[in-house]
């Protein structure tokens, strides 16, 4: 350690594995959303600086009346980024399944490797955007049967997480806190239990914290818990300086991953001196 940031990279990075999600392999452990940027140009710059290789997109009706002629695809280098289509906005398993199929059809037409997978979101409540766990499980089963690799957005409930893995999810992606809330990882203990259950006998099973990231330290905290990656969008797009925050998020995951691999010290109630206790000069007479 100690040489991180030098041109040769650093020791810990060299023995880290890439992020494997189904058939996809990424060096960056950040998955970044493409929504809510002020302009497509700003989005493109932020994605570049974040270092991500995988970006999420949403499926929506083509605007047939008010066409500006600009499509997000004009601003995404499909050779560089694997697209991860989501089913955001769906409130039933049926709608999510149809949306997943439409995303696959779009990616097949674009010849992007993302055609085999989907970020499944089946929402249960408009105010919290919390997922409907029953409908998410049903949609997972159906999409897995149709050959999709399913990345499941879910809560941090460990039992739901286990059920989704059993249903064939390629990755379970518990939310740190509600989508766009910027509250970070609210219940690290649940994430820890999710990790323990999902990786039991299967240490390479990928777990991603999806949603809730407000700032770089939230990414670091998630990575330090031992998750395999973080998916975020609003934290960058709505920062005062999105480009600066995109850099910070990149540094955040790298710091957290290094810390996780390197092993933090145990917390103690009392101090332990860093300097030798022997050889201190004689006490001043008073």
């Amino acid at each position: 350690m100690g040489n991180c940031g030098s041109g040769d990279g650093c020791a810990t990075r060299n023995f880290d594995q890439p992020l494997r999600l189904g058939s996809h392999v990424f060096q960056s452990r950040l998955i970044v959303g493409t929504g809510k940027y002020s302009t497509y140009e700003a989005m493109r710059e932020c994605l570049d600086v974040s270092g991500t290789e995988c970006v999420t997109v949403a499926v929506r009706r083509e605007r047939l009346v008010d066409q500006q002629g600009r499509n997000i695809l004009d601003f995404l280098d499909l050779k560089r980024y694997t697209l991860l289509p989501n089913t955001a906005g769906c409130f039933s398993a049926e709608d999510a399944i149809r949306t997943a199929r439409l995303g696959r059809e779009l990616l097949l037409n674009l010849e992007n490797p993302g055609a085999d997978w989907v970020k499944l979101e089946v929402l249960g409540d408009k105010k919290t955007l919390l997922p409907d766990p029953v409908a998410t499980l049903q949609a997972t089963e159906q999409l897995v049967a149709e050959g999709f690799r399913v990345l499941c957005y879910t809560t941090d409930d460990p039992v739901t997480a286990k059920r989704l893995k059993e249903a064939g999810a390629t990755s379970v992606m518990p939310a740190g806190s509600p989508i766009g809330s910027g509250q970070g990882v609210l219940n690290p203990n649940n994430i820890r239990i999710c990790l323990e259950y999902l990786k039991d006998g299967d240490p390479d099973y990928p777990v991603i914290v999806d949603a809730g990231v407000g700032t770089a330290s939230d990414v670091t905290i998630a990575m330090e818990l031992g998750v395999d990656g973080v998916l975020l969008n609003t934290g960058i797009a709505h920062a005062r300086d999105p480009l600066g925050m995109a850099r910070a998020m990149r540094a955040g995951w790298e710091a957290g991953r290094l810390a996780y691999l390197s092993g933090r010290i145990a917390k103690r109630l009392y101090a332990t001196a860093s300097s030798p206790e022997e050889g201190v000069i004689g006490a001043t007479r008073r």
């Binding site: 929504g35 989005m43 949403a58 499926v59 997000i72 695809l73 149809r98 779009l106």
Partner: protein
Amino acid sequence: MRIVLNGEPRDAADNLLLSELLVSLQLDSSRVAVEVNEKIVPRARHATHSLKEGDRLEVVTFVGGG
């Protein structure tokens, strides 16, 4: 005949081909996916799929999202 396109009713020529509809809408078929009555019509079949009275179409593309 009448069809419903992205939730909006509109007139269309009888037996209009899906590919003809997309051309008339000035849409690049490599950047859209099309459902007719909740079933995807793959791009390879756009040129042979003729639309019917009352068909409900969804024509979608990608937008920014998280």
